[in-house]
């Protein structure tokens, strides 16, 4: 556990542990900003073989009692046809700054609106899948 992770509320820590156990052993928190943790998921699936997997999901420190909001990536996401994902795409947005030193440069301002209510730290795995679906349908 790094210094950032030691600051996290217990439900968030539990979610991170479950994410590592069930989804990505290398998941980590790279930044905390504006009540959101930037959680790097190393195996977040993309649409094309040319893209590196991974991205930072913005998880509220109050997770699961508040909703995820946005994704930051190193490279612009591509659709399966090779065009850029355009859904709520904000290149170079200030929301990337907390992880810009790690290469974060592309922000997708996706919200949890209309998605099922979250109520447990174990929902983190479904959240990761939800992000992959947003990428796929972008």
């Amino acid at each position: 556990m790094n210094d950032l992770e030691s600051q996290l509320p217990p439900p968030f820590k539990e979610a991170l542990a479950l994410l590592r156990q069930n989804r990505d052993a290398d998941a980590r928190v790279d930044a905390i900003d504006a009540n959101f943790g930037y959680v790097w998921i190393n195996n977040l699936a993309k649409n094309t073989d040319s893209e590196s997997r991974g991205g930072w999901i913005r998880l509220p420190l109050a997770f699961p009692y508040a909703n995820p909001h946005g994704l930051v990536t190193r490279d612009a996401l591509l659709r399966s046809d090779g065009d850029k994902v355009a859904d709520a795409y904000n290149p170079g947005h200030e929301t990337c700054k907390p992880v810009s030193s790690n290469g974060g440069a592309h922000y997708y301002s996706w919200t949890w609106e209309g998605a099922p209510a979250l109520n447990s730290p174990k929902d983190i795995v479904a959240v990761a899948q939800w992000y992959e679906r947003r990428i796929r349908n972008g």
Binding site: D87, W110, T111, W112, A115, P116, Q129, R134, R136
Partner: protein, 92 residues
């Protein structure tokens, strides 16, 4: 269409389809099942806002997705391993 052919389209096959939704094993005698039924059998009491995703292997990548009212043909390729993913989502 002959009577025999009419029967073949309506009868259930003897084969039982064994599928996995995450770690949960399900057995279906029908070839075509509603996605909502698969999700409910896996323990989702209200699947209305969830998506059933078919995977290319256990723990693999999604290759198809089904809304609750969609029919899933369990005889098709890559219809053995599934996962349930939240639907919905907006943008700011």
């Amino acid at each position: 269409m002959s009577t025999a052919n009419q029967l073949s389209n309506t009868e259930h096959h003897d084969e039982i389809h064994i599928i996995f939704v995450g770690e949960i094993e399900e057995k279906w005698r029908e070839d075509v099942v509603k996605a909502s039924e698969i999700m409910q059998k896996a323990g989702v009491s209200d699947p209305s806002n969830f998506i059933l995703e078919a995977l290319n292997r256990k723990g693999g990548d999604p290759v198809a997705e089904f809304k609750p009212a969609d029919s899933v043909d369990l005889e098709e390729k890559d219809r053995k391993f599934f996962r349930i993913t939240p639907g919905g989502g907006g943008r700011s």
